[in-house]
């Protein structure tokens, strides 16, 4: 259900935007015709497989590949020695080390060699024939254990200048945000709650494993087909690692079976290119699910200490959080974004967050949908809930009393323009869900969430064909319906039917630089560029028509898909439609196109409120999700069905994170659940239909008011579910996942 706000209606009347046309990739996906990463082959293709560390932490004393190389059908073996010694920036050097270990393996599953062979069977045998001499080292996988004195050290001397002297060598960075005087703020409270919260690492759980096909000729021209959230990023990173010119490496993005941030980096691609270079044959690599879980990016696990003060009227007087995130074996956990977003929904006079970026012997964390924010929101929203309920106050009302509004100075610095948090809270209060009765062993939880949203480098090229249809080329893999959304925005702007537009995801040779599909940026930034490209094409068409009519360009205006004479001196001419203009383009100056290259600002922050009912089985600790409603500001929902899908998907992933998903490591530091049997994402029968309520508070930074919607929806569910379970079980759950053994123990201990 879309609610058009007054402002939007006053400003714009949409014809295409806001409708629900069929998705352009739908038939291909339900018939199996869509080509994902593993669905392309080339003549003479070899299979590439990766040898992975069986140790959590070990020094590589030697790797003997000779027996593998001597095997019939084995075309090449690569190790780190094959990669050129280059002066890489720290981030790219870590990416290379993660794709192919150097001196040490840093986690169970860390890649250290790869083979290319004429069959998978031979490649598997070749992996077994590679002899590695390891010197096992002590390991640490827990975020708090990693900073204890005497903990095993992953990297010596890599902390940046923000880390104080004498801190644990596993701390890579320290962040601090906030304003005011915390102690003064807490002193005004009627109650100060101090509590610690923990969350486990969770994987993005995309259904399609990483896959790619690489080829490289002796002239240095290379082609790569892969499943990614950003093929321009793949091009740039691989070119840097392999020492190729960016323009010589063409990367084509396949259809993508989910990413959720996990496909914003490279794992196989540089290795496949190196194998292709060494063999001069196309090389295809496809990960197994076990490899995906062991060696691609989960998100961070977290440990958060909270101090928050509230008056008995429900006013938060001061809020402090110290966040420790482990981001796996390399710097770069999303603790900075956790520390920035933690208190972003609230108008606070005294607020402070400190974030610590910690390394452990786990796979390098990759982005996961609003990276860093869900864990911070879990702590903050749990604490607010506990305080509110302790005072006997309505938890929605308490949030309203403290809600950030237009003009609020955010805890991370900026002052907000028009935002939608209050609207989501009011809508939640008025919704029948809020007043529905609950049965025994049931509880209701609410929580708010925030995400920044991004813009980023974007290119769109819009071409008018001679028969008057329109093609849009954009450079971002379609992960959430962007082809439909771009076609809709182009159709809206040009005044033509949606069916007249087809949007494609172009390869890296076809457009300029594009930021990866991340930060909920695509509908905002690529949409903005599409609208501007359409406006450029319209201006060109008006110019052509002015020429035909023999009048000034200014005297031609575009409306309803056609050029019309405008103004007192334009004369009377029958309108010329886009198709009519396209048909004679060759005679009026040549083909017609519009394009836009931009790095748009003004993405517009986004807020959501989630409400959930749960039932807890007091004899087994099992949690059932009974009802779930998402209230979120979309700015303007271009295709409401996709927006609802994003809301539902975020809630679902958050429910999984809250209840059962977790990376489970043994004492040996090895991952024990590298498969979907024991890494438990929710299945359809675990969930009720998730109701999605779309609010539309227009983003002033976008021509149609669009805000990104993809990430905010995973921020509130951890806390919303925990608040509901805590109420149902009669005991506060401050550690995720709330798996049945943990919930049962809490009930029996209480």
């Amino acid at each position: 259900m879309a609610l058009d706000s007054k402002t939007t209606q006053d400003v714009m009347q949409f014809k295409v935007v806001g409708t629900r046309p069929l998705r352009p990739d739908g038939i291909d996906k339900v018939t199996g015709r869509a080509r994902f990463g593993a669905d392309i082959s080339a003549p003479g293709m070899l299979t590439g497989l990766v040898l992975r560390s069986p140790h959590a932490h070990a020094r590589i004393k030697s790797i003997d590949t000779s027996a593998a190389e001597a095997m019939e059908g084995v075309h090449a073996v690569v190790t780190r020695r094959d990669f050129p010694e280059r002066d890489l920036d720290e981030g790219t050097a870590d990416v290379l080390d993660n794709c192919m270990a150097g001196d040490k393996v840093l986690y169970d599953g860390h890649a250290l060699a790869a083979v290319a062979a004429s069959s998978t069977h031979i490649a598997r045998k070749a992996l077994k024939a590679i002899k590695v001499d390891y010197e096992p080292l002590d390991h640490v996988t827990d975020v708090d254990a990693a900073i204890q004195p005497g903990a095993p050290v992953l990297h010596q001397g890599r902390a940046n200048e923000s880390v104080p002297e004498g801190a644990s060598p596993n701390i890579m960075a320290r962040y601090e945000f906030g304003h005011g005087d915390i102690e003064a703020g807490l002193a005004q409270a009627d109650r100060v709650l101090e509590r610690s919260y923990k969350t486990e690492a969770t994987h993005q759980g995309y259904i399609e494993p990483h896959a790619c096909l690489a080829q490289m000729g002796p002239d240095g021209q290379a082609d790569l087909w892969c499943c990614t959230q950003g093929h321009y990023m793949v091009r740039n990173t691989c070119a840097e690692i392999l020492g190729l010119a960016q323009g010589q490496l063409r990367v084509t993005a396949s259809e993508i079976g989910g990413g959720f941030g996990g496909k914003t980096t490279v794992f196989l691609e540089p290795v496949a290119l190196m194998l292709a270079k060494k063999t001069q044959r196309p090389v295809k690599m496809v990960m197994s699910r076990s490899e995906v879980l062991r060696a691609t990016g989960p998100t961070a696990s977290s440990s958060v200490d909270m101090r928050i003060g509230m008056t008995k009227e429900g006013i938060i007087t001061g809020a402090f959080a110290e966040l420790r995130y482990q981001g796996g074996a390399y710097p770069g956990s999303p603790v900075d974004m956790g520390a920035m977003s933690a208190f972003a929904p609230y108008d606070l006079e005294h607020v402070k967050t400190i974030g610590w970026d910690i390394v452990t012997n786990r796979p390098k964390a990759a982005a996961y949908r609003a990276p860093g924010a869900p864990m911070a929101a879990f702590a903050v929203e749990s604490a607010i809930d506990e305080l509110a309920k302790g005072f006997g106050l309505d938890p929605l009302e308490v949030r309203l009393r403290n809600a950030a509004r237009e003009g609020t100075r955010a805890s991370y610095g900026p002052t907000y323009p028009a935002i939608g948090l209050e609207a989501t809270l009011r809508r939640a209060k008025d919704h029948p869900h809020w007043s529905a009765p609950l049965g025994p062993n049931q509880g209701r939880g609410v929580a708010c969430g925030f995400w920044f949203n991004f813009g980023g480098d974007t290119c769109v090229s819009l071409n008018v064909t001679p028969d008057g249809t329109v093609t849009v080329s954009e450079g971002n893999p379609d992960i959430g319906g962007s082809r439909a959304s771009m076609s809709m925005m182009a159709a809206e702007e040009l005044g033509i039917p949606y069916e007249k537009v087809r949007t494609i995801v172009a390869d890296t040779g076809s457009l300029g630089q594009n930021e990866v599909t991340d930060g909920s940026r695509v509908t905002f930034a690529v949409g903005l560029a599409t609208i501007k490209a359409a406006r450029a094409a319209k201006a060109e068409m008006c110019k052509r028509v002015a020429q035909v009519w023999g009048i000034d360009e200014d005297a031609v205006e575009w409306k309803d898909g056609a050029a019309h004479p405008a103004g007192p001196n334009a004369g009377t001419h029958p309108p010329m439609t886009l198709a009519e203009i396209a048909a004679i383009a060759s005679n009026t100056g040549g083909p017609i196109a519009g394009h836009c290259e931009a790095n748009p600002e003004g993405a517009g922050v986004s807020f959501a409120t989630h409400m959930v009912d749960t039932e807890v089985d007091p004899d087994t600790g099992a949690v059932k999700i009974l009802r779930y409603t998402v209230f979120q500001d979309a700015g303007k929902a271009v295709h409401p069905a996709y927006v609802e899908g994003q809301f539902q998907g975020g809630a679902t992933q958050g429910i999984g994170w809250a209840l059962n998903e977790a990376y489970i490591y043994g004492e040996d530091g090895l991952l024990q659940n590298a498969g979907f049997l024991d890494y438990r994402i929710p299945v359809a029968s675990d969930l009720p239909m998730i109701d999605a309520v779309i609010l539309e508070i227009p983003n002033p930074g976008h021509p149609y008011g669009v805000r990104g919607v993809g990430e905010t929806s995973i921020v509130p569910p951890l806390a919303a579910v925990a608040n509901a379970v805590s109420e149902a079980a009669g005991v506060r759950m401050a550690s995720l996942p709330m798996s049945p053994p943990k919930v049962l123990k809490a009930i029996r201990d209480s």
């Binding site: 598997r124 197994s288 076990s290 004899d619 087994t620 600790g621 099992a622 209840l659 059962n660 489970i664 024990q672 659940n673 979907f676 049997l677 024991d678 438990r680 929710p682 299945v683 029968s685 675990d686 798996s739 049945p740 053994p741 049962l744 123990k745 029996r748």
Partner: protein, 285 residues
């Protein structure tokens, strides 16, 4: 790798006996093919028993039912007589994996995989099922609870395989049920499983019971002392409390990624009580 597809039981026995390397029997393949794909096993030969007509049938025998080793859970689910007599066994087989898996997986395969968490095995054990084993020295009948010896190990000798499962005569006023605990509602593996089968007399007194537990020991276990708490009772609260306590005492689980010792021990009793109530209701109690 060789693929063998005999059409008679005799041929199957002979091919298995004569195969020179490691030969694995394939029924539904829902365990074997997964293990092969994961690189955990690489047999030299696969002997597919699905082309043997006799092994694809459910036949009435001595008032009970003989279920061929290649009969899938989904086929069992559509057999009215079997569902009426042994709903607990049929439900257990149709908890395995997903709808797609249930179209392939078999009782015999679930048994021979020898996992303590196998869903259909506690139900078969409670039902008093007997496995008919074929081999080079003829056939032999073995109670289902004696087939698994340890995780992944069975009593099958070289060249032997399970050809069918026999579920005995149900008789009047009998009922069975199987419950398992899983964190998810489906596509999951039992953290604890419990099956109860019982018979009532005309007065509603339990005259015979069998109780079995899964995932709380190296193999699925039959718990006679738990059955004894029900026999001679009307399954009133004291009896159910005794049943729950006895099942928790009989459980000797390990702690692993799926559950703690404490959790499994407690939930064994919880499930026993709940399963007994369902079986009791089905028996007309």
């Amino acid at each position: 790798m060789r693929y063998l597809a005999p059409t008679t039981l005799e041929d199957a026995v002979q091919m298995l006996a004569e195969d020179p390397g490691e030969c694995r029997v394939l029924a539904g393949g829902t365990d074997l093919l997964v293990r092969m794909r994961a690189g955990m096993t690489e047999p030299d030969s696969i002997l597919d028993i699905k082309r043997i007509d006799a092994l694809r049938e459910i036949t009435a025998e001595d008032g009970g039912w003989r279920i061929g080793a290649a009969v899938s859970g989904a086929v069992m689910n559509e057999h009215e007589g079997l569902c009426a007599d042994w709903p607990g066994v049929v439900e257990a087989a149709n908890l395995i994996g997903s709808t797609q898996i249930q179209g392939r997986c078999t009782l015999a395969g679930n048994l021979c995989n020898a996992s303590p968490a196998a869903d259909s095995v506690p139900a078969m054990v409670a039902a008093g099922a007997v496995a008919r084993i074929a081999g080079p020295n003829g056939t032999r009948d073995v109670p289902v609870e004696d087939v698994p010896l340890a995780p992944g190990k069975t009593c099958l000798e070289q060249g032997e395989f399970v050809a069918s499962i026999f579920l005995p005569r149900r008789g009047p006023r009998g009922g069975d049920a199987y419950l398992r605990f899983t964190p998810r509602t489906e596509m999951d593996i039992a953290v604890v499983g419990c099956a109860v089968s019982l018979t009532l007399d005309a007065d509603g007194i339990c005259t015979a019971a069998r109780v079995s537990l899964g995932a709380v020991a190296p193999t699925v276990i039959l718990v006679p002392q738990a059955a004894a708490t029900l026999e001679g009772t009307r399954l009133d609260e004291p009896a159910l409390n005794a049943l729950a306590r006895t099942c928790s005492e009989a459980a000797s689980p390990i702690a692993d990624k799926r559950g703690t010792v404490e959790f499994r021990t407690h939930v064994a009793g919880v499930l026993a009580r709940r399963a007994a109530k369902i079986a009791h209701e089905r028996a007309g109690g």
